[in-house]
Symmetry: C2
Subunit: 128 residues, 2 copies
DNA sequence: AGAATAATTGACTTTTACGTAACAGTCAAT
DNA sequence: ATTGACTGTTACGTAAAAGTCAATTATTCT
C-alpha cells in the first residue's frame, strides 16, 4: 500500500494552501518525494504536517518546530549540544505550562465576558 | 494611596519595552493619565497590561485582545451585536480548548524528545 | 546653572509566515 | 485540440507587532 497523497489532497484535509506546504518544504520541515517535479507525500509526511500545524497553533515559530522535529529524528551527537538541547526542551516545557495557565485564566475571563453579555441581553429583553 | 507607576517601572516588571506600552496606548488598549506629556499608570492600567500580555502569550492579536477588554468594559447595546459577540466568545473558547489539547500533546512530545536525548547521552557516556 | 537622566514623538526598519501574481508544464476527459 | 484541474517555480507584497534611531523636552542631581 503506502499510499501517496497529492498536495491538494493534503491542503484540503488540513485547510492550508499549497503555498504553505511548499513553504514548509523550503524550510526543510518536510521532504516529500518527487515524480518528475511533482511532490508525492507519504503518510509520514502527513503526520509531520499534523505536527507542524499543531506547533503552529500554539505559537511555535518555524525554527522551533524544526528544532523539535530534528531532535527526535536524530538527537545531536556532541555532549554540549545534547545538554543544550535538553535545556531548551526544559524551557519549552515551562513555556507551555505557562501558556496552559494563561489559557485557563483567559477561559475564565471569557466566561466572565459572556455573563456580561447575558446580563446586557436581559436588560434589553426587559426594555422591549 | 493609589500609587502611580512610571512607564519604565512597568517595562521592568513585565519585561517589555516602552515602545510596547506606548503602542498599546496607541491601539487604545490602555489609557494612562498624563502629567504634562508624561504617562502616569494606575494599578488598573497595570492589571490591564497583565491581561494584554497574557492574551499575547496565547497568540491573541491586538484586535482580539481589544475586543475582549471592551466587551466586558461595556457590552454592546444592540441585540445583533450582542449575539455576534457571544458567538465570537464561543468560538474563542473552542479555539482555546483546542490549543490546550495541542499543548498537552506537544508536552508529551517534548518528553519523548527528551528521552531520545537521554538515550543518546547514555550511548555517548558508554563510549568514553 | 549645567550636566546627566529619563521621557516623548515620529519615522523608518525588521521579522515571520505566508499571500499573490505571473507564467508555464502535465494529464485526463471531452 | 482544447478545456480544466492541478502542479510547478520565481519573485515581489503584506500584515502584525514591535525594534531602532533621531530629535526634542523635562526632570533631577550636585
Amino acid at each position: 500500500m503506502d499510499k501517496y497523497y497529492s498536495i491538494t489532497e493534503l491542503t484540503r484535509e488540513f485547510g492550508v494552501s499549497t503555498r504553505t506546504l511548499r513553504f514548509y518544504e523550503d524550510e526543510g520541515l518536510i521532504h516529500p518525494e518527487r515524480r518528475g517535479r511533482t511532490r508525492l507525500f507519504r503518510s509520514a509526511d502527513r503526520r509531520l504536517i499534523q505536527e507542524i500545524l499543531r506547533g503552529r497553533r500554539i505559537g511555535f515559530t518555524i525554527a522551533e518546530i524544526r528544532e523539535v522535529i530534528n531532535v527526535y529524528k536524530e538527537p545531536p551527537g556532541e555532549l554540549g549540544q545534547l545538554k543544550l538541547m535538553m535545556k531548551r526542551i526544559d524551557e519549552k516545557r515551562d513555556e507551555l505550562r505557562q501558556k496552559r495557565k494563561d489559557i485557563d485564566e483567559t477561559l475564565a475571563e471569557l466566561n466572565h465576558a459572556e455573563e456580561a453579555c447575558l446580563t446586557r441581553l436581559a436588560e434589553i429583553g426587559v426594555g422591549t
